[in-house]
């Protein structure tokens, strides 16, 4: 049964349905794979083997009673940003070490409702602030991929680095992730996996530790387009506990995979062709265009003129919202407390010790841009630019049905490479952050390898609530790309 972990989610569900193996056998295979790999990859910050076996047994019992749900018996990894009842949830931060929420996030509750099994909690950048998983209080995740002929440790991307690495290294069938500026799609691109950030409001934010509430959105990372669709169908849905949750039907997204895309109009935005973009990424993008043309799509050049202003606007809006959201970590009701001489001193010492350097940097920027005298010049300005960016998409979507872009401006880079230059690190999200600002769905799929043998991703961007079209397009591209490469096992 050693190869159970190499199955896709879809194949595992088929195997469970046909009783080729049990949920318990599947979970045990993953528990043992994680035990071997995790000391090397650091993808899981908490392994929950006993819980996994207990949930798997309960799943087998439900199946025996004829009560199998859509994800019955599927072994999943959960990003540590999602609160899980009675199981440590830290958002990768020292300030929440030991925190065991007395409630369950809606997204994970939906997965358990549908029969899934939890293997453990996945590493991430602290409070999801980062693009390389290096801001985690638990240390960075190593990308299962290495450049050919090199032994250098690479980043899996971030902030959902643990989720992406665990899926790529077969340490779970699929994983939950979250995306505030690209945190699902960039790690998916860096690890040869599929990730989708759905429309803002598709997935409930209840029980997801908040970073920037107007941008945060949960989504899955999976091995295939179909796996991502199966996960999203389960994770999404209206939730009265999140006032920005959309009261709309959740379609069966997997039904869109395999549909014809003939006649769809695909936009290729001029502004995403950056100066200095690696030739391999530009070539892969052109290749993606050819695949869609061959499938009967009509390709159009479009313009999104405010693209270059998306990241600077994001680095006002996200820190501003973060400085407000993170004010709750005061050392009084939960989390770390460092006693000081006075109440004020206790707050300041608690937060100085509990937060890492990048989180402090962003909270300080947030407090600065929201402070008296600067609010109009920075915060309101950024919100006005945000509307310009959203309007760019409205204009483009009057002419096309979806957009095709690269996911990230490079392949995975070495751990330690960019930590000293915040702005260089922020530029990782240059192609992904625009959809967070506009609330639109974006999907990244692996499209090829670069000359060093590292995966590269392409991104599809859709209209609000039109994830279905993205899954159809991604299905076609997945077929054409025939991406079968797996990282060489070194762990």
């Amino acid at each position: 049964m050693a190869d159970l972990t190499s199955l896709t989610l879809k194949a595992a569900l088929d195997g469970l349905n046909s009783k080729s193996f049990s949920a318990e056998e599947l979970a045990r295979a993953y528990v043992s794979a994680i035990e071997t790999a995790n000391p090397h990859l650091n993808a899981y910050v908490l392994e929950t083997p006993d819980k996994a076996i207990a949930m798997a047994r309960a799943s087998d019992a439900r199946r025996a009673r004829g009560e199998a749900g859509p994800l019955e018996g599927a072994s999943l990894g959960i990003k540590d940003l999602f609160c899980t009842d009675g199981v440590q949830s830290t958002a990768g931060s020292n300030i929440l070490k030991g925190f065991k929420p007395p409630y369950e996030s809606t997204v994970t509750a939906n997965l358990w409702r549908d029969g899934a099994v939890m293997l453990g909690k996945l590493n991430m950048d602290e409070f999801a602030m980062g693009s390389s998983n290096e801001t985690s209080a638990f240390g960075p995740v190593s990308n299962p991929w290495k450049a050919s002929g090199s032994n250098q440790a690479l980043t899996p991307g971030g902030s959902s680095g643990g989720s992406a690495a665990a899926v790529a290294a077969d340490l779970c069938l699929a994983a939950t992730a979250s995306d505030t500026g690209g945190s699902i799609r960039q790690p998916a691109a860096f690890t040869g996996t599929v990730g989708i950030k759905p429309t803002y409001g598709r997935c409930s934010r209840y029980g997801i530790i908040a970073f920037a509430s107007s941008l945060d959105q949960a989504g899955p990372i999976g091995k295939t387009v179909e796996d991502a669709a199966l996960m999203l169908s389960s994770m999404a849905g209206h939730d009265p506990k999140d006032s920005t949750s959309l009261d709309v039907e959740t379609p069966d997204f997997s039904a869109f995979v395999g549909r014809s895309v003939k006649g769809l109009r695909i936009g290729v935005p001029d502004e995403y062709r950056l100066d200095g973009m690696p030739a391999e990424i530009a070539a892969l993008w052109d290749q993606g265009v050819e695949w869609l043309k061959a499938a009967g799509c009509e390709i159009k050049r479009v313009s999104l003129p405010h693209t270059k202003y998306a990241l600077p606007a994001y680095y006002i809006i996200a820190p501003a919202e973060a400085s407000s959201n993170l004010s709750r970590y005061d050392g009084m009701r939960y989390g770390l407390r460092v006693e000081g001489g006075t109440l004020q001193d206790t707050y300041e010492r608690t937060r100085a010790e509990g937060f890492g350097a990048e989180v402090k940097r962003r909270v300080l920027i947030g407090a600065y841009v929201l402070s008296a005298g600067y609010y109009d010049a920075y915060y309101l300005k950024a919100q006005r630019v945000r509307r310009r960016i959203a309007e760019d998409f409205d204009t483009a979507f009057a002419e096309v049905d979806a957009l095709l872009t690269p996911t990230a401006p490079s392949a995975a880079f070495a751990l330690g490479d960019r930590v000293s230059d915040p702005v260089a690190m922020y530029l990782n999200d240059v192609f992904t952050v625009t959809t967070n600002l506009a609330g639109l769905p974006g999907l990244s799929l692996p499209a090829g390898l670069d000359a060093r043998g590292l995966p590269l991703g392409l991104q599809l961007i859709g209209r609000a609530l039109d994830e279905g079209t993205l899954f159809s397009l991604a299905g076609v591209m997945e077929q054409a790309a025939a991406f079968r490469a797996k990282p060489q096992k070194w762990w």
């Binding site: 009261d247 407090a367 509307r387």
Partner: protein, 95 residues
Amino acid sequence: MAIDADTVRKAARLSRIRVEEAALAPLAQELSGIIAWIEQLNEVDTDGVEPMTSCVAVKLPMREDVVTDGNKRDAILANAPRTDRGFFVVPKVVE
């Protein structure tokens, strides 16, 4: 606009984050670099553009003002750094 050590001290105070004196100047330089990069936003003409606070165009939903949860004192206190007889214990607030 360049951020100086005093501005960082003020932002740190607002953020309730202790920053050692020696760390103020390097932090000011770092944040100035980020703010300088952000200031390219001034190139965008935003006259008459409404600030966008949310990408959800729906009205916030209302609900009945009734208790939907409760009676879980111990669960709420379970993660507290210090408790005593069913209360949070916090530093003295009023002298």
